[in-house]
């Protein structure tokens, strides 16, 4: 399984602010290695953030999202102690899912 991500979620008034740091090379497929061979594209394609069985953010990403992606978003309807879950899948079929509780 891929490296864990770091998720921080906190209340700002009645809004939940979520910040995620994911570990992923996000290879574009355009870079070449020392031998001159193209490094195959390897990047996160879909991201899903859920809270209480509900999707709070869905994303589709391309190779142009930076390596070790950072994502920050906000939603209403959560409260301190609730669980936020973030999942991603990449173009090689690898995936990762982590969760945190809202502080």
């Amino acid at each position: 399984m891929a490296n864990p991500m770091k998720i921080r979620a906190r209340m700002i008034g009645d809004i939940v602010e979520v910040k995620v740091l994911m570990s992923h090379p996000m290879e574009t497929g355009l870079r070449k290695n020392e031998a001159g061979e193209a490094i195959p594209a390897h990047f996160i394609q879909t991201v899903l953030a859920t809270h209480a069985e509900r999707t709070v953010l869905a994303a589709q990403w391309g190779q142009a999202v930076s390596a070790n992606p950072f994502l920050s978003f906000m939603f209403k309807g959560g409260q301190k102690g609730d669980v936020i879950r973030i999942s991603w899948t990449d173009n090689k079929g690898d995936s990762r899912s982590d969760e945190t509780t809202i502080a």
């Binding site: 899903l48 999707t55 869905a58 994303a59 930076s66 978003f73 906000m74």
Partner: protein, 154 residues
């Protein structure tokens, strides 16, 4: 089994996308979005809008783009987006001069603020276009970001 389903989801991405856009499937029912290959392979903004199911986009100043004017390195350019357009349901970050301009596409379910931050790669100085979809219509704003070649490490 899993592979087959993933392949099916990938190839039917366009169909699901269209059904969502047409309101036939609610956001909550779509557990994981299929990857819109056509959108990510679009070579320019017009083609991209068509691949997202639109026919054109209106310029607006109701989309705020928070980003530096100069990026010290094109590998990581921080982009903040905040849409003041009512009922914003989708946000796309597009880097005009990238080989494939669409960098990221976000679906904003009800209850989620149409505001987010992420980081994208920029091949060269160009406009970063933020495209939003609200009430079935596409609108956009753009900001030019200069990408520099650094002098040395720092």
């Amino acid at each position: 089994m899993e592979q087959g389903r993933r392949r099916f989801l990938r190839s039917s991405g366009g169909l699901i996308g269209a059904l969502v856009a047409a309101g036939f499937i609610g956001i909550d029912e779509v557990r994981a979005e299929a990857w819109n290959a056509a959108a990510f392979e679009s070579k320019d903004l017009d083609q991209l809008i068509r691949n997202l199911g639109g026919s054109g986009a209106k310029a607006t100043d109701a989309i705020e783009i928070v980003a530096p004017d100069i990026a010290e390195n094109g590998a990581v350019v921080p982009i903040g987006v905040a849409s003041k357009v009512e009922a914003t349901e989708a946000i796309a970050i597009v880097v005009e001069r990238n080989p494939n301009p669409l960098a990221a596409l976000f679906t904003i379910p009800p209850g989620t603020l149409p505001a987010l931050q992420t980081r994208v790669k920029m091949a060269e100085t160009c406009n970063v276009v933020v495209l939003i979809k609200a009430a079935g219509e596409f609108q956009y704003a753009a900001k030019e970001i200069k990408v520099t070649i650094g002098g040395c490490g720092g």
